[in-house]
């Protein structure tokens, strides 16, 4: 589904991603962990199509297309969904109506009819319940005045309605209390399927107590330093990220020699 090959990306001349390789197949859940500033959000926003990044080399292929050629909205129509680390507040734009517009744009792209008002309402109610999002949030402006946790739930709610093929969750677990974390995890688990893939970006192992990943990758200094199964996350939990520094040092020393 997604194939990232030797991707080098810089922002304003500063290299941020320094040779990322990642293969994600339908049905898989990949966790990407790593210290702050390692490039996790850069990678996820880049996949969703955010402007301002310079691709220095490498490629990203998604469903046999050059993903980097697509506009952000086209990526969304093709089934990419990013749950933002910091969801934006948009006063004056209705949360539910935005979702309906998004859903209809996706349907239109696939030659389907618009969803009827009745069906949409049913869908929205059902998914709101799934993430335990109070229905009062449906009629509010996008994320406006939502608490941190409510914003994250809203992201998962949107994901549940839009039913993406590839969902990227950028630290959706950060700042959540244990209840909210469970709700978010359940939302993800309910959506897990053969056709759908997830990239879970997280700083902590605790999300992975609830969502069992197929692969765990450690991103540091713009590179995936290690990949493994879920036991790698446990190891990180025990050891912290400190070992990365030493290894990077060793690597760079080796490079210098």
């Amino acid at each position: 589904m997604l194939s990232i090959k030797d991707l080098h990306v810089s922002i304003a001349g500063k290299p941020i991603l320094k040779g990322i390789n990642l293969e994600v197949k339908a049905g898989e859940v990949h966790a990407i962990m790593g210290p702050n500033g390692s490039g996790k959000s850069t990678l996820s926003q880049l996949l969703a199509g955010r402007d301002g990044y310079t691709i220095d080399s490498g490629s990203v292929t998604y469903k046999d297309q050059d993903l980097l050629e697509l506009a952000p909205e086209e990526r969304s129509w093709e089934g990419i969904f990013l749950a933002f680390q910091y969801p934006v507040e948009i006063p004056g734009v209705n949360n539910t109506y935005l979702l309906r517009a998004g859903l209809n744009a996706i349907r239109k792209h696939h030659g389907q009819d618009e969803v009827s008002a009745v069906d949409f309402l049913k869908l929205v109610r059902e998914k709101a319940k799934l993430v335990e999002l109070d229905e009062s949030f449906l009629s509010r402006s996008v994320n406006q005045g939502f608490s941190g946790g409510e914003k994250k739930r809203n992201e998962i709610f949107q994901m549940a309605v839009l039913e993406p093929s590839l969902a990227i969750l950028d630290e959706t677990d950060s700042g959540l209390d244990i209840d909210a974390l469970r709700v978010v995890a359940e939302g993800v688990n309910k959506l897990r399927s053969e056709e759908r893939a997830f990239i879970l970006i997280t700083h902590y192992q605790r999300l992975l107590d609830y969502i069992e990943p197929d692969f765990v990758h450690v991103l540091s200094d713009g590179q995936i330093q290690r990949s493994g199964d879920k036991t790698l996350a446990l190891e990180l939990e025990r050891e912290g990220y400190a070992w990365l520094d030493t290894e990077t040092d060793i690597a760079s020393e080796a490079g210098a020699a």
Binding site: G49, I90, P91, N94, A101, A105, V142
Partner: protein, 441 residues
Amino acid sequence: MNAALKQIDAWQTSLAPTLPTLPGNDIDWLAQRRSEALTQFSDIGFPTRKTEAWKYVATHAIAKTTPALSQSTIVDSTQIAQWRLDDCDEIVFVDGLYHEGLSHFTANANIDIKSLAESFEHSPDKIKALLSQDISDANDAFDALNQALLRDGAIVTIADGAVVERPLHLLFVSTNTDNSVTPINNWIFAGKNSQCNIVETYIGADTTNNLTLSRTTINVADNAELTHYRSQRESKQAFHLAELTVKQNRDSRYNAYPIALGSAIARVNVEIILAGKNANCTVNGLYLTKDKQVSDHHIKMYHAVPHCTSDQLFKGVMDDSSRAVFNGLILVDKDAQKTQADLSNRNLLVSKFADINTKPELEIYADDVKCSHGATIGQLNEQSIFYLQSRGVARDQAEHLLTYAFINDVINRIQLDALRKQIAALIIGRLPDSEFIRELV
């Protein structure tokens, strides 16, 4: 003779002969006042770039027109149907003249409405009292000209203690297509303890190119509440120059909604005097410009006595190569202790050729006050655009949606349903992707 002087001369030559045709001109003091005002007009001359209050608005496009006085053309009810407001009493003026046939209003003890033109004859002394302002105090040449051409307008008196349920709509329709000048002078007197909602609408068909000179003078008596909407939507060839003067007395509330959408050049000069303790004023303003429109707001909020509050928010959206000017002064007298005054001006430039000159000013002579002011000029937020795109909204749609979202809160503050819907529909209709926006807000 330089060009500006020649133009003033041409205006005077064109307009002087119409003075004797104005209603009430057989009244000596009135005839004299008009003629003095015309002299004053020519003495002051058209504003130039050196005229501080007109620094950013060039008037040569107006000066070169040499207008005649507007004449009322025949309008039937179907032509103005789209501009009416449901559930309101309506007083209609066509090209500055009261039109009884188009108006509907049931006289009652709560509110009295008179046409200025008719009042000259019936109650000249009353009018004389209204015109206490000295001609030499005219704000500029256009203000003086409006005094010279003093012809018609509405005189609205709300009785003491009256709670007027039905909003009053003063609808000023322009039809002239020959660069004529339309003088309008209104007075609103909100009696003690009264409550009323008044809408002033200035509008014209797309082909009209009149110069509207409007002056509205308001007195809000003790403990009265007046909500005043001013919706200016004249044609893009028209010019609209307006004066709004408000005096607030003790415990009064005045809520103003100056909304400027139309005209090639639009200027509103507002002066609000908080003259009685505990008076409270809120202003929610909106201006939108596109193409080559120029829209100018000059606001003076004068706190003359202690314990008054004023709270102003103005939002502007400038597109294409249009321009706006905002000048908001909060003036706090040395006696006006415990004043609370806030002024915020937020602007969105949606085209790189659009421009805004904004200058909020504080002039404070009291020491125990809470005043704040601020202005922002911004473009659309890239993060918001990206967020919407990531949810499937195409970039251009996202931009247009966010443009509307920027001003949506001001529109939503309009309490009158009919007007709010009308303004929202109109503004959405001006934007590309209107249908899409309609579905999302």
